[in-house]
Symmetry: C2
Subunit: 337 residues, 2 copies
Amino acid sequence: MISKPRFANKTIDVVGIGNAIVDVLVQSEDVFLETHGLIKGSMTLVNEVQAEKLYQDAGPGIETSGGSAANTLAGIAMLGGKANFIGRVRNDQLGKIFNHDIHSVGANFETPFSTEGPGTARCLIIVTPDAQRTMCTYLGASVQLEPRDLDLSVIKDTKIVYLEGYLWDNEAAKKAFITAAKLAKSSGGEVALSLSDSFCVNRHRESFLELVSNHIDILFANESEIISLYQSSNIDNAIKELRSCCKTAAITRSEAGSIVLEGERFWEIPAFKLGNLIDTTGAGDLYAGGFLYAYTQNKPIKDCGEIGSICAGKVVTQLGPRSRDSLKEVLMNYGRY
Amino acid sequence: MISKPRFANKTIDVVGIGNAIVDVLVQSEDVFLETHGLIKGSMTLVNEVQAEKLYQDAGPGIETSGGSAANTLAGIAMLGGKANFIGRVRNDQLGKIFNHDIHSVGANFETPFSTEGPGTARCLIIVTPDAQRTMCTYLGASVQLEPRDLDLSVIKDTKIVYLEGYLWDNEAAKKAFITAAKLAKSSGGEVALSLSDSFCVNRHRESFLELVSNHIDILFANESEIISLYQSSNIDNAIKELRSCCKTAAITRSEAGSIVLEGERFWEIPAFKLGNLIDTTGAGDLYAGGFLYAYTQNKPIKDCGEIGSICAGKVVTQLGPRSRDSLKEVLMNYGRY
């Protein structure tokens, strides 16, 4: 039981800052990864020429709005939370699609479009027959995000500022996030981070360690990310390190569910199976979405984990990283709304 | 048993002429159709302003290459047939997506892109909870197709020229098709038509009747389209009329399978259930694709119907109007390849 609200006098539940990306989902055999020198399960940053070449060689695609934090924020908005996304697209067709999709679920998105320079970011997601995903991201316009894109009055009025680790690949966006994190904390809000992927953690370990120790209240990570962050020999040691840094964390473990930590306590949360597994894209993002929505609604931490787990269980029964069915109804069916 | 090949000395199996369209699939409640004055199950042509308004009001979408004849030709190419698509896109992001997807399955597509004027055509496909589809099409660049886009040497070297009825909404494209049909016939090829939808038949009944009588060897239609074409009181009467016009026809009946007609003979073909029904978009298009592929491979007509039925059965287990799994492998599993 929680006796007093976590946040007082805040009208926005979550502001998410992330790369605004349109996903291109393609199915390929393992040989496609080998031919293009891609490591299965990784997210590789590519330049425009590489992106064109990969796309040219790939099979037919399905385009759908993505971006890790954007998926999380779309989930929060679908659940009825007040969600505000900050990220940069260009004023091209893919940018309009991104803008449409995030508004259509009720999220707020007001970052000005770029009118020149690189096009809207695109992520080629290669799904191999074992259902694993390998991602090649051309960041395009999304790296043009800069500190002045932040609406400071919005940040002050927000319960949680949420960041995706992928932003660490972009200096200006990183600065924007640090600014937002400091302002959120000084205004009585909290700061959440998703580590995004273990390769991203490898690229930015020192910087992430400093960030997690000094700025992060709620950390989302999977097992390989957290082991990579602390360079631990196993998950138990990684969790010990984590406990000394963050007051709240959720470690996701795919079909094994998740572990939720708060101070000295922890809970094991099962995975929820809501249908046949179709595509795991967005599972971690929607877990964070369900968790943060419940957290801003003042639910006990164990419930936050379960609601995250239900949302993740739903999105993996559909193609693409966002649910097309009402997440609110899904929670109602589980007596959680 | 067929003793002699249907076509001699032709290197291309099927040339398809149609609207080059990117589909936007959205899920909506019935009230969305009522609010926007849309008739369930219809395809409505909309202008750019209407298209923007509908898209703005719709939920999150998934973009994927579509277009009726283009879907059929993609299916033929996936099966290993030599397939050539003719249609017009603009040189914008959606046009590049369309171009990528049709090439990625091995179809040939060389129609020059428009470099100015309206953007690549887009079809908003609204899927209601009863799994019915209601389509709103903004034809954009696709209506800029014109007779000079036809490569006459290709038409002469083609077994079948295939047309979608939707082209009848566009005068220049209609002229292009008539030109192609006459040339195909005079070169020893055949001409096939899909009636596309009963509303399209209503818009162009006289013209379609004249076309079917004078130019069409193989007709694809569903029950409501063929009843609409002949304004018959029932399907049996419509089939009687049809027999006197076309040498070969296939009447699709959703989960009831199809009826295939050749001269005085007919066969009832069952529907094949290859998995859970996910999305019926593309079922008719892939039926035609399987049928025409088998037809160009000199298979008996009953086999053409069954192969069409298997391909349709596969595409409805996936989201979008084209199969992402290999249709060749699917046929192999049924001992049909």
